[in-house]
Symmetry: D2
Subunit: 315 residues, 4 copies
Amino acid sequence: MVTPGGDAPGMNAAIRAVTRIAHSRGLQIIGFERGWDGLLTNRHQHLTPRSVGGIIQLGGTMLHTSRCPEFKRPENVKRAAEILAANKVDGLVVIGGDGSFKGALDLSRESSTLMVGIPATIDNDVYGTDETIGFDTAVNTAVASIDKIRDTAISHERIFIVEVMGRQRGFLALEVGLSVGAEVILIPEHECAIDQVVEVLKRNAQKGKRAGIIVAAEGVGDTRKIAEEIAKKTDFEVRLSIVGYAQRGGSPTARSRLLASLFAEKAVDLLVQGQGNRVVGLQNGVVTSVELKETCEKEKPLDLRLLELAEMLSI
Amino acid sequence: MVTPGGDAPGMNAAIRAVTRIAHSRGLQIIGFERGWDGLLTNRHQHLTPRSVGGIIQLGGTMLHTSRCPEFKRPENVKRAAEILAANKVDGLVVIGGDGSFKGALDLSRESSTLMVGIPATIDNDVYGTDETIGFDTAVNTAVASIDKIRDTAISHERIFIVEVMGRQRGFLALEVGLSVGAEVILIPEHECAIDQVVEVLKRNAQKGKRAGIIVAAEGVGDTRKIAEEIAKKTDFEVRLSIVGYAQRGGSPTARSRLLASLFAEKAVDLLVQGQGNRVVGLQNGVVTSVELKETCEKEKPLDLRLLELAEMLSI
Amino acid sequence: MVTPGGDAPGMNAAIRAVTRIAHSRGLQIIGFERGWDGLLTNRHQHLTPRSVGGIIQLGGTMLHTSRCPEFKRPENVKRAAEILAANKVDGLVVIGGDGSFKGALDLSRESSTLMVGIPATIDNDVYGTDETIGFDTAVNTAVASIDKIRDTAISHERIFIVEVMGRQRGFLALEVGLSVGAEVILIPEHECAIDQVVEVLKRNAQKGKRAGIIVAAEGVGDTRKIAEEIAKKTDFEVRLSIVGYAQRGGSPTARSRLLASLFAEKAVDLLVQGQGNRVVGLQNGVVTSVELKETCEKEKPLDLRLLELAEMLSI
Amino acid sequence: MVTPGGDAPGMNAAIRAVTRIAHSRGLQIIGFERGWDGLLTNRHQHLTPRSVGGIIQLGGTMLHTSRCPEFKRPENVKRAAEILAANKVDGLVVIGGDGSFKGALDLSRESSTLMVGIPATIDNDVYGTDETIGFDTAVNTAVASIDKIRDTAISHERIFIVEVMGRQRGFLALEVGLSVGAEVILIPEHECAIDQVVEVLKRNAQKGKRAGIIVAAEGVGDTRKIAEEIAKKTDFEVRLSIVGYAQRGGSPTARSRLLASLFAEKAVDLLVQGQGNRVVGLQNGVVTSVELKETCEKEKPLDLRLLELAEMLSI
């Protein structure tokens, strides 16, 4: 097992589940530490049902992680493949997001070890799964934060722009926006001119609604500028709040933990069946898997109908 | 709209969504207060996009609810039908669980008003939907509570039996048990003798795991007795904790709010299309609907494979 | 160090603080495991600034605890004193409540080791300190739980009796009751006949307030019976909810952590100054200490004026 | 009553308590809306025990607030005094922070209405009270957020600078820093060169502690620059997170609610006794009051010994 890339709540639950399920199928499990770096330096620990006890509720990853740009160099990928072989690793479970899976794909070309990906990222931007481990937790963390901000927004009759994570995508912002009843949701997948935003806010004010929450994905650009422009074009007090790294941590929600367990079971199943180069996922409520290559190459579509629904609900 | 039966987190989000979506389709909306009782006494309020503002994050139901056993009497059902007619109600959205839908079915036989059900109950025991509004919130409330209890369980090396809600079913207990990594999960759908529980606990103790969490559905019977029997048959300190009514309230999770919005949209769609006597639901990730009669008559199956998974994960 | 008796949130913060402060003063620290039992069996671990890292936010106690009735026997107290001597323990920091301090007092009579107590119990029933470690956390846990129950109470217009912990005392119930705006607070320190409770509820109903929260300390007796009697004497629906063991665990609040650090500093100061047989505490905002014997013999008074305030606030 | 200035969690609990206590003493209560603005425009509502029901647990202020720079002009202060007289207001309870009290002091010079201040601000920077309403809530909100960030800090072995509120003072940052076990705490009251910070981080790294949390008060200046400078002078990955406006909202903690009730009682007591131009407060555990003028002119001291304690605890 290895957890390269950014951490996400539920990764520990996945490590626990992979370890215990694999153990119950008679397999031995090692965990490389600090992501690809631990694979390159052969730093690993043996994982047993006991050693992964008491972690299901913890955020972060007990295997640690780190950025490892050098892993992209071909000679290092080869070296990693050699270390896998030296450790007699039959299957490698890679828990992470897009970047982690691209690394796994590169590695698969040099190694005979079976690669299976488990999608875990708060951004939910992995092709082949409707939901990633950690997404539900991040949504709820942002929602809880914005529920608090709303108190101030209403008390002061102010407009708040709240920036949430999501990298280049709007999955997180869209679900958060719907859940908090945002007046406006700004996501990279749907262009929205400042003037349109201003119009919505003015229309609301005429209806007596002078407080407002705008949820913006980090991918839409400089939210500070957006806040300033809106303030310039209206007489509203506009404030910016960035939810930030708290979204990446914290105790996973039940759903993130459950997804971790279900994905882990599927991942071990695939390995036991000798199927590699796949990424497990949830599609229409069913745990399934797609090709690793497909996940790396395709872009996950965002359901823009939810944006329309959000608009209808914020009248 | 009416919210008979027990409250569930997300009901207010559903009331808000039905009102605003129906309003945007040109409909007028009234809400009967205190469940069937308000329908019998014609106590209702007009609902507008503004009057349902600021409630998306609140637990409970702004329309209130109450037990109304007299609604079961035929003459009262008839009276309710007359009141619907007198108010020129074309469609009635019933937000609740099994009991509420049975009332709606009775009413549908006397009334030409279209009935559409929105499943909202923490028990998740409604046929025709994989998930009900409020379920995810209740699961997370119970999980948060048990995460705290685990601190004491581990510090004292004790066994805790934690009783969660769910009426006669084990949906809540099963998902909670999986999420907290329970050593044992007791649900009505799967018989489990005390001796089996004792054996698991003893085996764990031999492995050095003297603390343990047993999650029990309220439907399995007297948990106090179960605790006493386990204590008698082992040398463990056994404690009982009942999560209780907190599971029914609280601010809904993002998922409960989202489900409320999606179900509301579907319910209004059905009514606008002239389709009545249906209950909306989520099936394999898709929002759909089933016949009201079917929901009332069929029992929702529980996936016992999850119990096996939980067992494998608690080694 | 040793943590006998029940666990309380913030104990780990206290263990960390004692260890690091003592270390910075050049002392060596060992922690006996599982309470008095670990002292009797000489099971201990060396504690270093690193070994207590990452625990400030965790509930429970990393040293574990257990009931140890045999510690009350004189020969065992002597044995414990011998083990302290054998380990060359100059000072013993006892983190716990009344029971733990009584054990320390017994031990002090047989041992030349300096004893210093740090009050940590959710019950807040330790003489000599206005507040104990863990109390603020338990209050907030109960308050959060009752805030959720209120949703259901209001939606159903029901009366809820919520039982909170506190052993034979009402500190927890009183502060919880004030914080949730309870209609009635029942504590052992103030007798209150059922008829008085009934009268308050009826008067409230006349004012249009049919929902209500009664917060009851576990020390007032069988809350199930109280619920039944109230139901019998009124036409209210009455429900009982027991907050239970979750109050004992969970991540400590800022205040419980801060108190742990302040108490730890004082405890180490006393030991360095050669002062033993004392219990640290907070009195009128100042960290101070009292004689161990005094703490064991005197009963902490409860400010009944707060009960009057609560009454005035629940009109 | 009036709530000028920024909102703080517990303000609603204070409004409720003032209203109910004053009512029980036979007084009539009105609340001016939107801060000083509502006083200038005579926009107010009658407050009764019922109209302040169900708000004890809500963040924000039901009376709303707004910035009102025009209140500083002498003619407007006179006008406000006239409106107080016209409404026959014998006593005005001003709930807020420093700015609000300065307004009250100006007003007191033109008006015979008795002024009593209740300190409510998350910044805790009001002279004459050890703690303000809302402070404990803000501390806990920031602590909960940083507890999540720590997961990522440890998993990635990164340094996080977390900026918390507090305006020009370090009360919030200091208590938050102590509670999360921050490696470094930066506050305006204690100069700390970047090089010192770098030295601490390097020393920690040598001890094997490569992750770290730096809690910085907003008053110390541009935290983005601080993060960049630290990154430049070390090989650490440094990230910045700003907790932001969530600290100002949310359901008040038990302590913030309790303080609100105690302060309200004292404020009404003062008015009933005919004592004006005072600000209530908590001093060494006792509810008391100081002169309004004193509060406006003096600066509240910060206990720098806590900073030393924090340093000793972060080894």
